[in-house]
C-alpha cells in the first residue's frame, strides 16, 4: 500500500491532471442536468439543482477512488510476460494489486480537496448530512472500490483464455455507465433500468457511496448498502478464486 502511495506521490502532477480530467465528465453532466432542472422549475425527478451539484462533486471523488486494475492491463501483462514477476513471488497478485491501488487513493483524496473546493464555489451544492453519512461514506467508498476492483479483476481473467479480452471491458464500461449512476442518478433513468440496477453490482460502486455522503440515505439504507457491497465483494471474490485456479493452469508464460 505504501508503494502505491509513493508511486502516486512520485507522479503527483499526473495524478492531479488525471483528477482534473475526471472533472470534465461530471461538469458536462452537471451543466446539462442543472439546466434541465431549472427549466422544470428547479427540480428534476425530485432532485434539486443543489443536490445534483452535490451528487456530481462527490462523483469526482468516487470516480478516482474506484479506479481499479483494468482487464486490458491484464492483457498487456500477459502478452508482455510481466505475469512472471507476479507469479514468482510469495504473494497473490490480487493482494499486491489491491494494496497498490488502495495506497494511491490517499494521494488522490489529498489532490481532490482543491478540485472539490473549486466545484463547490462554481455549482453551489446542497448537502444534508449527519455523522452517520460521513462515517457510512468512508466505509461505502472503500466498499465501492473493493466491489469494482474484484469485478474487474475477475473480468481480467478472460485474458488467460484469449489475449484479446479488451472487447469485454468495453461492454462492462457501457453497462456501468448506465446502471451505476455514473451517467445520471438512477432516478432519472427509465424505471426498468432502475429496477435492473438493484439486482446488479454497479450501483453499489457509484451511486450508493455518493448518495450516502450527500445525505439521501437514512441509516438503515446505509447499513443495507454496505451489506450489499460486502455480499457482492465476497460473492465475486469467491468466483474469482475459482476461476483463478483454472486461469493459472492455462497461463502460457509468454515472453520472458
Amino acid at each position: 500500500m505504501r508503494i502505491g502511495f509513493q508511486r502516486e506521490i512520485q507522479y503527483r502532477t499526473r495524478a492531479f491532471l488525471m483528477l482534473f480530467g475526471f472533472m470534465v465528465e461530471p461538469i458536462i453532466y452537471l451543466a446539462v442536468w442543472t439546466s434541465v432542472a431549472e427549466a422544470q422549475g428547479g427540480q428534476i425527478a425530485g432532485l434539486a439543482s443543489g443536490t445534483l451539484a452535490a451528487y456530481y462533486i462527490v462523483w469526482t471523488l468516487v470516480r478516482v477512488f474506484n479506479l481499479a486494475f483494468a482487464p486490458d492491463a491484464w492483457e498487456w501483462r500477459i502478452r508482455r510476460g510481466r505475469m512472471n514477476e507476479f507469479l514468482s513471488q510469495p504473494i497473490h497478485p490480487f493482494h499486491r494489486d489491491f494494496t497498490m491501488f488502495a495506497g494511491g487513493k490517499f494521494v488522490f483524496t489529498l489532490l481532490w480537496i482543491p478540485v472539490a473546493f473549486f466545484l463547490t464555489v462554481l455549482f453551489d451544492p446542497v448537502f444534508e448530512w449527519a455523522v452517520i453519512n460521513v462515517v457510512g461514506f468512508v466505509l461505502a467508498i472503500w466498499g465501492g472500490f473493493a466491489v469494482r476492483f474484484v469485478m474487474l479483476y475477475l473480468l481480467g481473467m478472460i485474458n488467460f483464455w484469449t489475449t484479446r479480452g479488451s472487447a469485454v471491458f468495453g461492454i462492462f464500461i457501457a453497462s456501468e455507465l448506465i446502471l451505476s449512476g455514473r451517467l445520471v442518478p438512477l432516478e432519472l433513468m427509465p424505471d426498468w433500468v432502475e429496477s435492473l440496477a438493484a439486482w446488479l453490482p454497479f450501483k453499489w460502486t457509484f451511486q450508493f457511496p455518493i448518495d450516502t455522503l450527500i445525505g439521501r440515505l437514512d441509516p438503515a439504507e446505509i447499513v443495507t448498502g454496505i451489506g450489499m457491497q460486502a455480499l457482492w465483494a465476497v460473492g465475486v471474490g469467491v468466483i474469482f478464486a475459482l476461476v483463478w485456479k483454472r486461469a493459472i493452469r492455462r497461463y502460457g508464460a509468454v515472453g520472458n
Binding site: 508511486r7 512520485q10 512472471n84 514477476e85 514468482s88 513471488q89 510469495p90 497461463y251 508464460a253 520472458n256
Partner: protein, 334 residues
Amino acid sequence: MPHPVEAPVVVDGLTKTFKVPVREAGLGQSLRSLFNREFKNVEAVNEISFTLDPAEIVGFLGPNGAGKTTTIKMLTGLLYPTGGEARVLGYQPWRREKELLRRIALVMGQRNNLAWDLPAVDSFELNKAIYGVPTKEFEERKTAYIDVLDVGDIVTKPVRNLSLGERMKMEIVASLLHGPEVLFLDEPTIGLDVTMQRRLRQFILDYNADTGATVLLTSHYMADVSAMVSRVIIIDHGSILYDGPLSRLSERFSAHKMIRVEATDLPDDLARYGRVIERSPARVSIEVRRDEVSAVAGHLLEVATVTDLAIEETPLEDVIDRVFTGKDHDPTTS
C-alpha cells in the same frame, strides 16, 4: 548414520507440450481459420530428468527455443507441466506454495521487476514485506550487496533513470535480499558490457560461496559458463543431449584440438596435418584430430624453427555449436 542431504532440485521425466494454432499465409487461409482452426502440438520439453546438488552451479545451455526457459518456468511454478515430476526444495513447484516461493528466486535478463517510477530502495522494501525478511537480515544483506556492487549512489535514483547495467545490478540485489536457497538465472548478463558481466558473475559466485545456494544458469555467453559452472546440461529440441562436467564436453563432442604455432620456416603443405584455421608467414593455427595431436606437434617441432607452440581445446562456443549441429562428434567417446 548421517541423513543424506536431499537434492534441492530433482527433475524426473518433465514434459511440456504447447498447443499452438497454425495456418498458412494468405487471406483465404485466414478466412478458413475462422471456421476451422487448426492446432499443432509443440513439444517444448520432452521427458527430461536431472538433479542439482546443494551449492552446485549448473549451466543450462541450448539454442533459442531449446526448452531452457520453459523448464525454468516449470521449476519456478510459472508453468504447469504436461507430464513428469519435479521437486524444488521438496515442493512441487507448480503448486506455488508460499513456503517454496520464499526460498527461491528467478532472475531474467532484460526483464524489469522493479517499480519503474521509484528508486530501487523502495522496491527492496517492497520485497522485504513480500518475502517477510526480518529487518536485521534485510539491512545486513542490503548494505553488503550495495557495497559489493558499488551501487550506493544509484539506489536512490528512480529505476527509469538507470542504465541497463545499473538496473540489472538492482534486479540482482532485489532478487537476493530474501536469501534464496535456489537461484534460477535466465540469461542474467544479456546485453551487458564485459565489465558489468564480470562483476555480476563474481557477485553470483560470491553469493553461492557464502550461502551455499544452488544455481541453475542459462546463458548464451560462454564467458559466463566457463567462469561460473563446472557442470553443464545441454538441451535441444526439448531433450537433454549432455549432462556432465564442463571439462569433458570438449572431449566428448569435439574430436579435434587446436595447435597454434609461431615459427619461421613452416612447411607449405600444412593441410596434411588438419584444417588450417589461420595462417600468416610466422604463425599458424591448425585443427588436428585428437589422437594425432602428439604426432603432429612433434613433427612440426622437427621440421620448423618453432618459437612458440600451444595445444588448446576447441573454443567452448564451437563445441556447443557442434553439440547442437551434431557435427564433429567423436563416436568412440560417450
